[in-house]
Amino acid sequence: MSRINLNDLDPSFKHRVAEQPGGQGIKACFACKACTAACPITAVDARYDPRKIIRMALLGMTEEILHSDFIWLCSSCYGCQEVCPQNVSFTEVMFAIKNLAAAEACVPPGLTGQRLLLKAHGRLYEISDFENEKREKMGLPRIKEHPEDYDALLG
């Protein structure tokens, strides 16, 4: 584990998270670890640890959080919220943190790619003639893409 230099910390970060919709619960955390024990992502990738992310945010490790790739691993299953005794609503806190990251253009390229796919095709996979011909052979209807709705949503 690397050392933390107190001079590099950003005490305003927790307030910025708390000001986001859904982010206000972050300051109530007791660090009891129940959320981490309930998180299915932590079980497969220890870099994603809800309690640790909260500690990092409260300490003000802005760079380490916003530039990380692990904040994007949350599956939004709400398991952490279910067990938290302090109503931290960590799933919502994660949305708040991701919004801050997006505002600072810290979105990983994979996600930007997914956004472009959604905008162009209305889904994360392009449906080509190849898929539709296969579906027809199996007696399934063709899929028609409706990217217009997503285009309006994603601006």
Partner: protein, 413 residues
Amino acid sequence: METDALIVGAGVAGLWSAWELALHGATATIVEAAPYPGGHVARFCCKATGRCQKCGACLLEDVLRKVRGSDRITTLLGSTVLEASDTDRGFDLTLLCRPPRIFPDRCDGCGACTDVCPVPGALVQSPFDRRMVLDQQRCLRFQGGECRACEEACTRGAVNLDMPAQKIPVSASAVVLAAGFRPFDPLEKPRLGYGRVPGVVTAAELDELIRTDKWFPGAGASRTRSVAFIQCVGSRDAKIGRNYCSRVCCGYALRLARLLRSRYPDIEPTMFYMDIQSFERDFEARLGEAAREARLIRSMPAEIRTGSDGRPEVVYEGMDEKRVAEPYDMVVLSVGISPGQSLGNLCSTFGIDLNSDGFLGPDGEAVTTSQDGLFVAGAVQAPRSIEDSVSHAIKAAAAADRYLRRMANREKQ
């Protein structure tokens, strides 16, 4: 009937307030709903391990002896307050007094009645001797039913269900509410497995089993060796509206763990906690000793489930940042102190409010209420240990005594 002070509840707090008032020369009448005095402490075991662990349970025996020996104190068991009204001299009250249904001089505690009773907990052994007592708040007959099973089963003619309950008017100058608390009901936290996963018990249940010599680790492959204590069950939990520390569970869990180990040295206790809270003298020393004998893990489990071998399994995030599902022979939930069941009734009877945590009377340490001459003592007002309940009760009795003297002086003038 007239009394200087009427005291609601014969737990340590109520008994101690009565004793202090009697010491100052006042008369006190204690109204206790249960068929025996002592409140929760009557069902706790002594936790001495050869050396006293200062759990405070013996403070009850102490005050009971004093109260029984005082001719200024009357104790009415099986009784509650039906109505109360303010007068310029204090309170006019109506009590509902239910006579004991089991004659103590005839009962020899054989248990024939319990064997036939359809309601668990309606017939219980008195915590002070082997005789049975009937809890009329549970017995079917007193909820409008027709059951007479115990009366018919008793060969010694000790049960009599027909004596009528009486309404007794009382005037009292002051009232002390010492109605105590309710242990947290862990069914409110279904993930902890209580009532669903075999081997999960509450600390209150374990305490009582030890007191009545009914807890043994067993033998052979099924012997109880690993015991997990889960802290803060029903405490420090904003989600269920109990965002306060119960103040006693860290202490009692450490004592129970040491007690088990001193009796059965092969028992290995583990404590799961979020913060160890101490409100007692010498706590650091106790914690240090405990840490040598028990594993202390700062991590709250997400779930307790039935493992593949049928034992309870505690799911938590381990110290080395690995998800752990660990089987235990027994899981003990360190249940906290919740506001008592009868507080709503007491509020409407006496015209006072609950405080911010849902207990009775003001916030903080105060013993006075918004009503003149009405006082609160012990765990009815906030989570308190036995020792703290006793000091709060002494403070309440002193305030009530001052009030009584003021009233007496005013009358003289």
